[in-house]
């Protein structure tokens, strides 16, 4: 039955590709033919999974790039095949008919809520957890709820590769014997001694709820913490960003390996570091990893440059319902240094499910846009009124803020009246509504 299930999966996938169909059907048929199929195939010695709220796709992409540059054969699931059926399709596609995976490494981007189901069928050898934030709370509840769910996805023996700077993620090491590799960003010139952002998820220890103490913050609850109540603390990382320059877009890993970054910003730094740490744990040496990471431009289309009439601009893809991804885009726009016009679009809150929930707008640090170089702000889309309410509580001079619900009219206004460089900030679900109205110059490269 094993061979039949694999064959059926391969045939259906081939047919599906011709028809442009999704990736879950072949896997679901294979699982029907043989529910234990995933236990019967021979996986490579290295199966690495990446989960967390933000940075999964970028981290996975960078790991794959580094491994391939170093001559490894890598199979990895692209976005969208997170659920067990999709993962089955993906794994069986990599198999011979005899059921042996052809790749040296299986690399999985895992949805936080599905990982526990997926890893019932097989167990990763390495498990990277990047961070846990407020993300898609309409589905995810809250970060501690996701933490509890993820607990069920961790099995004995798996090496955990954890963000030492995230106090909630570091709780995964509590009470279990798994080997752990910690990665973290050391104190840098731009580390902050006071928390920034609209809310303080780091204010209390996630383990015992005692007020937490921080030596410094990188952003939100990410930094160097210690709980005087229970002793929960940041572990000294084995892999660290030891120096960095946001202006010159480079970082130094483990004291001596320089990586030039295509995208500036602390968030991207963490993704790069997570990829570095994962590749080290898989057995590669530091120098070739750093060389492969240096100058690598992400291919996932999150940053798109365009021309809008006379003006040049960049679209920064954020995620609705994820205030940290918005904060990240806002920081990039403000750090640009030139005069800028910022258009924020919230039209369809999700492309995958229905919701009209806008509470997350109150968690975004829009206050940061109150900078002299931010000349104009345009709020667009179906939820532009909610944005307008939110902005009415920001200390931004009202003459700089314009509410133009109609997306076409908003883009036209920017073309005609925008000042300086243009930034569009919106979600995957909405970005094409902007990009179809401008001339895209370079997609998917940053």
């Amino acid at each position: 039955m094993k061979t039949i299930a694999i064959l059926a999966c391969k045939l259906l996938r081939f047919a599906g590709k011709l028809l442009g169909k999704g990736s879950s059907l072949p896997g679901s048929v294979a699982l029907k033919l043989d529910p234990d199929i995933l236990q019967k195939i021979k996986l490579p010695d290295r199966v690495i999974a990446v989960t967390g709220s933000n940075g999964k796709t970028s981290t996975v992409e960078m790991i794959a790039h580094v491994l391939r540059q170093n001559g490894w054969k890598v199979a990895y699931n692209r976005e969208g095949s997170n659920q067990i059926e999709g993962v089955t399709t993906f794994l069986l596609s990599d198999c011979t008919l005899g059921g042996t995976c052809r790749s040296d490494v299986i690399l999985l981007e895992s949805d936080e809520r599905f990982a526990r189901h997926t890893f019932r069928h097989f167990t990763p050898t390495h498990y990277v957890i990047t961070n846990l934030y407020r993300d898609q709370l309409t589905r995810n509840g809250h970060p501690e709820w996701i933490f509890d769910i993820l607990q069920d996805s961790i099995h004995p023996g798996t090496r955990l590769i954890l963000n030492a700077d995230d106090p909630l993620v570091s709780c995964f090491a509590l009470g279990r014997d798994n080997p752990v590799t910690w990665f973290g960003v050391e104190r840098l010139p731009f580390s902050e001694t006071q928390p920034s952002g609209r809310y303080r998820d780091g204010a209390y220890c996630p383990h015992c709820k005692h007020p937490m103490e921080y030596e410094y913050y990188h952003y939100n609850h990410i930094g160097a913490y210690r709980c005087p109540g229970c002793g929960h603390h940041r572990h000294t990382p084995e892999d660290a960003v030891t120096q960095a320059s946001l202006e010159e877009k480079h970082l130094i890993l483990n004291g001596k390996y320089r990586v030039d970054m295509a995208v500036s910003g602390i968030y991207h730094m963490y993704n790069t570091l997570a990829a570095f740490s994962a590749c080290r744990a898989l057995g590669l040496a530091e120098e070739p990893i750093a060389r492969a990471l240096s100058g690598y431009a992400l291919q996932n289309g999150r940053i798109v440059s365009f021309r809008a009439g006379e003006r040049a601009g960049t679209l920064l893809t954020s995620k609705h319902e994820n205030s940290i991804s918005y904060d990240q885009s806002i920081r990039l726009a403000v750090q640009d240094g030139r005069d800028v016009t910022v258009l924020v679009l919230v039209d369809a809150i999700s492309r995958k499910y229905f919701t009209s929930e806008t509470s997350w707008l109150w968690d975004i640090d829009f206050e940061r846009l109150n900078a002299p170089q931010v000349k104009q702000i345009v709020l667009a889309g179906r939820y532009s009124n909610d944005l307008a309410v939110r902005f009415s509580y920001c200390p931004i001079p009202p003459e700089r803020v314009r509410v133009i619900g109609d997306i076409g009219a908003a883009v036209d206004w920017v073309k005609e009246h925008g000042e300086g460089y243009i930034y569009f900030i919106t979600c995957f679900s909405d970005k094409d509504k902007l990009l179809t109205r401008v001339q895209v110059e370079q997609e998917g490269r940053a």
Binding site: L137, G141, H142, E144, W145, A203, R382, N385, Y393
Partner: protein
């Protein structure tokens, strides 16, 4: 007007801070002098000194920490409630006022005992979803979002009746509670921002008079957009 904002960092699931921003502005627009005390767990509380108390939603673990810190004030809260003081508890903050909370691990936490409600938290089920709920004194319903894992058993006068979304327990459209001027709802986030008419109603009660007319155009439009989207959605099967 003295306002007590309880545990703004601990009890903040997402966007709860908007409620205080909005209330402060509206009171100021009515010519009131407003002072807001933001108190963290462990800080001394003089419950009787305030005209209005607010606490928002938190994670289940944060809620238990809040409960332990608030426990010494249970008597003062009851006195405030009996004396007709005003308070709003959103999300799982409302459950603190009940008789007890049984958490997902089965541990029973004694509540503050202001309401005859026993709360049970689910382990695997979370009630997340958009909501429409009617208020008996308001023509237009409230819109918002639920994000909790509670079932309530007991006898309380509900604040709202759900039209879309789940009430305090399965098969019961009653949502939240209302006891004197203490109000509670499972709606999370900036409830007062999203529902300008409810905010107006609350303001009238708090001021004890009809508020001066003021226009909050974007709030009104935002409510309409969300209400229309939810009303269209309400009768469709769930995804």
């Amino acid at each position: 007007m003295k306002i007590l904002y309880l545990y703004p960092d601990l009890m903040n699931l997402y966007g709860e801070s908007g409620n205080l921003c909005a209330l402060e502005r509206r009171l100021a627009d009515q010519g009131e002098d407003v002072s807001v005390d933001r108190k963290a767990p462990g800080e001394a509380l003089e419950i009787a000194a305030y005209d209005w108390i607010y606490m928002g939603a938190g994670t289940e673990r944060s809620q238990k920490a809040a409960l332990e810190h608030l426990r010494p004030c249970a008597g003062a809260l009851r006195e405030a409630m009996d004396a007709g003081k005003h308070a709003l508890f959103t999300g799982n903050a409302a459950a603190l006022l009940g008789r007890e909370i049984t958490d997902a691990a089965g541990q029973v936490w004694q509540g503050l005992g202001l309401l005859d409600v026993a709360v049970r938290e689910r382990r695997d089920t979370r009630y997340t979803g958009d909501a429409i709920a009617r208020h008996p004194e308001l023509e237009r319903p409230l819109v918002g979002f639920f994000n909790h894992c509670e079932d309530w058993e007991g006898d309380v006068e509900p604040l709202l009746q759900v039209v879309m979304g789940r009430g305090n327990r399965e098969g019961d459209s009653g949502e939240g509670f209302r006891k004197n001027n203490f109000l509670g709802t499972h709606l999370i986030g900036p409830v007062l921002v999203k529902n300008p008419h409810f905010h107006y109603w609350l303001l009238s009660r708090l001021l004890g008079r009809t508020p001066e007319p003021r226009e909050y155009l974007y709030e009104e439009k935002a409510w309409q957009v969300t209400y229309d989207a939810l009303a269209r959605r309400k009768d469709q099967p769930a995804e």
